[in-house]
Structure formats: structure tokens, C-alpha cells
Amino acid sequence: MDSPKLDVSDSPDGALDVVGQRHGRADGTGLVTGRQRYVADGSTPGELHVKATLSPYPNARILGIDTAAAAALPGVVAVVTHEDVPLETNRHGLYVKDQPVLCDDHVRYVGDPVAAVAAVDERTAAHAVSLIEVDYEPLPPITDPRESLAEGAAEIHTGGNEAAITEAHGHCVIRKGDWDGARRAAARVITTRHRTQVREHAPMETHASVAHLDADGKVVIHTCSQAPHLHQLSICEILQLPLHKVRLVGGRVGGGFGSKNELLMDHITGLLALRTGRTVKWVWTREEESLVSTKDQAYDLTYHTAVDEDGMILGRKVEAVRDNGAYTVFGTDAITKMGCYAPGPYRIPSYDYDGRVAYTNKPPSAAMRGYNVADAHFAAEVHTDAVARAVGLDPLAFRLRNLLAEGDEGATGAPIEEVTIGDCMTRAVEVMGWRIDRERVVRPASIPTSDEHARGYGICAGWQGVGATGGGDPSTAEVEVLADGSVVVRTGVVEIGAGEGTSLTMIAAEELGVPMDGITIVLGDTERTPFDLGTLGNRITWIAGNAVRRAAADCREKLLDTAAEMLEVDRTRVRLRKGIAASVDDPSASLTIAELAGAMKFGQGRPIIGTGGYLSSAVPLDEATGLGAATEAVIFAAFLVEVEVDCRTGQVDLVRSVLVHDVGRAINPLFVEGQMDGGMAFGIGNALMEEFLPEYPSLRQQARGLHHYKIPTAMDMATGHTNVILEIPSKKGPFGAKALGEYTANLQAPAIINAINDALGTEISDLPATPPRVLAAIKARATEVG
């Protein structure tokens, strides 16, 4: 499909009517009146409730499953096990089909589902679950990835405990330049190791799914999925039904953050609806959410940097082990994305990456906001501070010397354009009121005593690509004009809270040339919206936005062709703006969009539907070298922070901070601010509080709900924080916009840990820096020095 002109819309002076406004949420009223419905809201008379048998063991063989007593319990309508799954293999998965719908021979994590019950109410369903007898043969669990990858380890999956990423090497490999040469030529090589923790997404809405059969027997599933179109494909395979016999109605999610990227419920409620012929509803308690849902991954990362006499980076080598949990889910893709961003936004002539994915008997590590790039930022930036210290340079000065510049190669060898990391850093430094002194090394003068507060500064330079690594993440959209001139946009995107619906509506309104009150949007319904990969992967503004823009342009062309005819002017002399098609030369010669719509539909018998699609130009990486253009665009950000550490308690407060994101163009600055604020909370939680497995890799004390898993409250936020929205327009993004949402949570943890180390003279290298860990580091430093 031809791409329409991607310059600014038809307005004569290039001014924008809608994009760039601080427009309120189009769907905002429902959110503040309580009237907005989520999947779990509302009930159907006679609906059945679901509870599942979840494995109590992290690793066990299943010798037998007896559901007879459960099935006989009054009020139980259906009990399903693997025997009821239409797909014979009973295995699904986006990249590797290794995850059972319901476990058959083996359970691989505590919470792995074995059977599901549909009963007249939740209490009966729970009672029925307690009557299901599963004969388990417990096996020793492997929770440590190092143990899992060791020679002779018991197999978690047939074929071994490491995911196969490439045929050439097995694991994920990137070889750029000559690391060995760099290492040998270097004045120094600095090595550090970093561990990131397992986190939970903890969206306020737990997973929910409601399935029923419509009058024609079609399976209709009301879903909280972040990717209804994508999940429809898997569900249809599992239920052995064609796409037109299964409808996923999504669109409204009470927080995603990646937790709702995978198939956890909808295939089972769909199955139960088919079995019972009734409405089937499944809503997880917070404990079930904690237990069963996928997690953010723990990484074990070793970084080596070779520097020359002048503190210039000659090469960087990264070894990564991803603790993938029990099933592949996105692991094979995630490890590749890690490799692409692991080195940080620096000019690095030689780069070696070896990324391994280890299976363990823990909940699957799938996708959490940041998607491995948060871990990459953490290790890269804490390591970079260590490198700066080793060569005797101020951490900021060291970074500025080595910062990526326009046209430099990224990690996978492709040159990067529109490099604005320098602009982001400069702006951040300006707002913080810092001075750059190239020769100064910042260190605390004395060891802190228990009476003191210590202050320190930290930096994080950030970069992230748009869309899925290696491409293959299409978005398609429609823009239709109805008989009265009102407009509907249709896209498979769902609203997870970032204002996706309103943003895309604004893009469509701008491109089409209609006011916001004349246009609405339909989201995430596989029967009503065209395919979009899903609200994930930092892709909505760029990829879905471009698709919507093209659809709106296509629609506008159709309207203007007719307008030119009806007004008897040349096609090039007519414009559509604010809902009116007018001759440029004689504005009184005009037609409203309502008049055009009426003429086209009733006078000409034509539909008025514009269609558009977008696929990023990213390509898969080379099998052997890992090189290639993995993303269509890289976007940049910077975060600076001053912290104060209470040396008596280990508590860390953010005293001043500035977050700079280059968003290209803010489609809606209000939403951009909201994402930056939200990212700050996520980042603070990541840096200082959140741990799903406090005794990682052991499962002891595994968090079971929000009582155990502490996320930031209004009192935990940074007091002196400033958001800076930088707008350096892109050539390819819609109206110059870039990307943002997922990304705003990546930069805080590295900078905060750098600041703590600066304050205390410590070398904390793992997450999170909880008060006991900070105190331990203080003690260790005192011992070292004393």
C-alpha cells in the first residue's frame, strides 16, 4: 500500500488543530463516575464461576487425575482436564509451543493449572477443586538458573533447560567488530556483575475472563488481554475453531504492564463455555494473580568494558542469563531484545553478546514493562559508573565522551539516525543546575556514621527501540464516515490506561480534518476491529498511530475526490479541515462532511471507509552474527537524580530528579506527563522496594498479594521531581511523534543505585536496594575502609 504523504495535514499554514493539545480523555467521564465497566463488572443470570486446581509443587510428575467427586458435587456443571482440550498436543506458545493448556504429565511451577471447574458460584467451584485428586510424584525443583544450566541437570523440558535461540550457536549471539582485539589493545578492562530481581506487574485489575456462546454457537470471550487479535489466533488453535467462530471482545484493561500479554484464562473459559453452553466467568483473587500470572525476569549480567588511555570505550562484552521460569512464552525474543540494548547508548566499536535463556521451576518470566531493556539499562549504567570511577573520570564526563552520535552503529551494527541522547543529557544537566568538570571524581569525603544522612548523584542515559525486535508487528486500522458525517475509527489496539484510545482518535481527527467531538473509536474487538498486534512493545503511537493516520488519509482522499467533483474544482484546490471541505480559492464554496457523506452513501451508493496499515521496517537479526536493523527507530531519554540516604535505616529518598524524554512530538502532552509520572513510580519500586522472591532463587517467602509485594504509595514518590518533554520530531512517526509509554520506567533504578553508591562510596550492583541491603553495604564499606 502506498504511504500517503507523511507531512503535516491539509491546513494551509501547516498548523495542527488537534495533535499537541492537552485534550481530556474522550472516555474520561466513565472513569470518574464508576460507570466504566471492566471484564469482571456486571453479571449474567445463571453464569457459572471458575476455579482451577493449581499445582502445589514447583516440579512434579502427574500420575493421575481423579475428578469424579468434584463432578458429582451439586452445583458443579463441568470439570475439565487436559483430556478435554480439543488441540491434541495440548501445547501452546507464541514462540515455542511448550505450555500445556492444562497440565497432563508434569507440573513445572507452583500455580501451574491442572484442572478447571465451572460451578454455580465461587464457593461451590472452590469446594469442587478441593475434591479433585491429583496424584503427584514430587521431584526436586530447580530454581537457580545456574543449576539449571549446569551439566547433568535434570530436565525441566525435554531437550534440556536452555532455550534454543539460534541454530548456529544455540544461545543468542551478537558479534560486532572485534572484542578480542579491543580487549588486547585496551589500557584497562573493567568487569562487573549485576543481578536484577523478579518483579510482579501488580495491575490493580486482576485477570478476568467471561465467555459465552452466542445464539449461533460462536464463542464470545470478554477479555482483559492486551492483545486480543494475537490471542484469538492461539485460542482458535487450542479450541480447533476457525477465526470467525471465536470473538474476543476486549478494549478496556485495568492496567497491563505486560501481565496481560499472554494467554492465561481465555482459552479455558472458552473451553468451558463450549462444554457447558453457559456464560462462564473467571476472576482471579489477588493471591491467584500473584501465584499464577507471569512475572518479570531475573537477570544475571556480567559486563566487561575495554577502554583506552583517554577513557574512550574500545569495546563492551555482555554475558546474560535470563531466568525464564517454567515455560518459554516470550523468552527467546526477550533475550534478543536484551542484546540489542544491553551496551547502552554509547559509541562502541566492538560488541560481543552472549544471551542464554534458562528454564527453572518458577512462574514463567514473560513480559513486564521495559521488557528486559530495564534490566539492560540497570546493568549498563551501573557498570558504566564503575568504568568511569576506574579510569578516574566524572561519571557524566565519561558518558559525554562516549555518547552515541548521529549515524553511529547500534549494538547490532545498523546505523542509528535521529540520535538525540546528547540533547536529552544536556537538557537534564541544565535543569538539575549541574556544572561539568571533566577531571573531577565525585566521591564522599568520609565514611558515613549512623547519625548521618548522605547525599549523592546518579545518572542514567537511556535508549529503546520502537516495536518488536526484528519486526513482524503489524497494525491495521479503518476510519469510516457514517451517514450523518460522524466518524468512527477502528483498531485492534486496547486501552490499558495510557490514553491510547484518545491519542489515536486525535491522530485520526488531525489527519482526516474533523473536530474531536465528531469522532469516536472502537478498540480491540476481533469481530469489529482490524488486526493489531496489541498494546505492548512501545508501539502504539508509532506503529498503530501510523496505521490510523494512513487510514484517515485514505478516507480523506475519498471525501475530497467527491468534494472536488461536487464543487467542480480541481482536486488539488480543495481541503478538508474542521469537518468542512472547502475550495482553497473560494472558501464559500464548501460542503460539510455530513453533506458529503449523504451524497456518497445515498446519491452514489458508496461506502466511506479509509483503510491503512503499518509494518515497521525492522528485520530479524542474522542467525550467525546477530547483526541487522532490529528496530525502525531508537528513541532516547535521560534521568538525573539526587538522593539522600538515611544511614541509620537504609531508607533512600529522592530529593531532586529530572526525567527527560524526547518524544518527537507529544500527541497529547497531558498523557506524556502521565506516562512519565507513572514511570517514576514503577522505577522507584524497581530500585528500592519490589521483590517477588525475597530469597531468590528460593521460593521461600514468595509474595502472595499486595500485603507482601510492596509497590510505591503516594508517600513513596520523589518530592523534587521535574518532567521535561523534549520534542525533536522524527521523520517517520505520526506527526513526528516517537514512542514513550513502556519506556518511562527504565531509567530510574540505575540512576538511583548510582546515586546511592555515590553517596556512600559503596558498590551496590544488584536490585532492589532495600533498606537492609543498603545498611549491609554501609557496613561492608566501613569494614573495608576500617
Partner: protein, 156 residues
């Protein structure tokens, strides 16, 4: 068992189990789904309602204990189709992103402003720390509450 109480200004009777939570009753019996389950352990505030004018987590209130008392939910904050100044402020300041926690935030905020009509930012953060939000980072929620307090103060 039957529990008769005032709900958003009208007398109602709920027929249910002795161990039904007020949250279940509001959602399942009365179709008022603004109060939402986030944790069912009183940790998140998503299910906040007002009981005799004070904010409580409905998940921790047993329905029989509200016999003869006054319950207000987010649906009962405003008269008819309008928005209260607090709701309007939440809307204007973009204090709701996914919206799931918003009802609970509003109920806690209304309680806060009723007891502390001229709060400092610190008062607001302290008063709202029982409401978890994973989306907004709280900044615009706090702004909205301060704006509503200020506007109310101006009206005198």
C-alpha cells in the same frame, strides 16, 4: 439473611449470606460495580466506599454489619448525571489512567477533604497512601485533590 440499610440515599434490603462482604453485595446484588476488588485484603483501596460518612474498604465490611447504616458508593457521590467538583478535578487533571483504582481514590479523597478541607501536599499524600495506583505515579491525583480543595476554599 436480610440486611436493610440506606444506599446512596435510598433504603434497600439485601438478601444474602451472613458472610457476604459489602463489596460483593454492592456489586452482585445492586449492580454497583464502581467499587472494585483489587486485593480483598484491605491493602489497595480500590473498593473504598463511605460507611456513615467515613471511608472504609468494602471488602473488609460484612454486609450484616451495615444494618440501619448509611452507605455511599462512587455512583452516589454526584446528583444525577453531573460530576462533583472533585470528580471534575480528577477528569481535568488526568488523574485516572486505566481507571480501575479511581473510584476508591475518589472516595478516599472525598473523606480526606471532608475532614481536612485545606490540606497541604503532604497531608494529601499521607491521606491517600492507602490507595494503590500502578499507573499514575499519584502526581495528578494529588494535583486534582489540591485543586478541588482550593476551588472549594475559594467558594467559601
Amino acid at each position: 439473611m436480610d440486611t436493610t440499610f440506606e444506599l446512596n440515599g435510598s433504603m434497600v434490603t439485601a438478601h444474602g449470606g451472613v458472610a457476604d462482604s459489602l463489596l460483593e453485595t454492592l456489586r452482585d446484588t445492586f449492580g454497583l460495580t464502581g467499587a472494585r476488588p483489587g486485593c480483598l485484603t484491605g491493602d489497595c483501596g480500590s473498593c473504598n466506599v463511605h460507611l456513615d460518612g467515613r471511608v472504609v474498604p468494602a471488602c473488609l465490611v460484612l454486609t450484616p454489619t451495615v444494618e440501619g447504616r448509611h452507605v455511599t458508593t462512587v455512583e452516589g457521590l454526584a446528583d444525577g448525571d453531573g460530576l462533583t467538583p472533585l470528580q471534575q478535578a480528577f477528569h481535568d487533571h488526568y488523574a485516572a489512567q486505566c481507571g480501575y483504582c479511581t473510584s476508591g481514590q475518589l472516595m478516599a479523597a472525598a473523606d480526606l477533604l471532608a475532614t481536612c478541607p485545606d490540606p497541604t501536599e503532604s497531608d494529601v499524600r499521607r491521606g491517600m497512601c492507602g490507595n494503590l495506583c500502578r499507573c499514575t505515579g499519584y502526581t495528578k491525583i494529588v494535583e486534582a485533590i489540591l485543586a478541588a480543595a482550593h476551588a472549594a476554599g475559594q467558594e467559601g
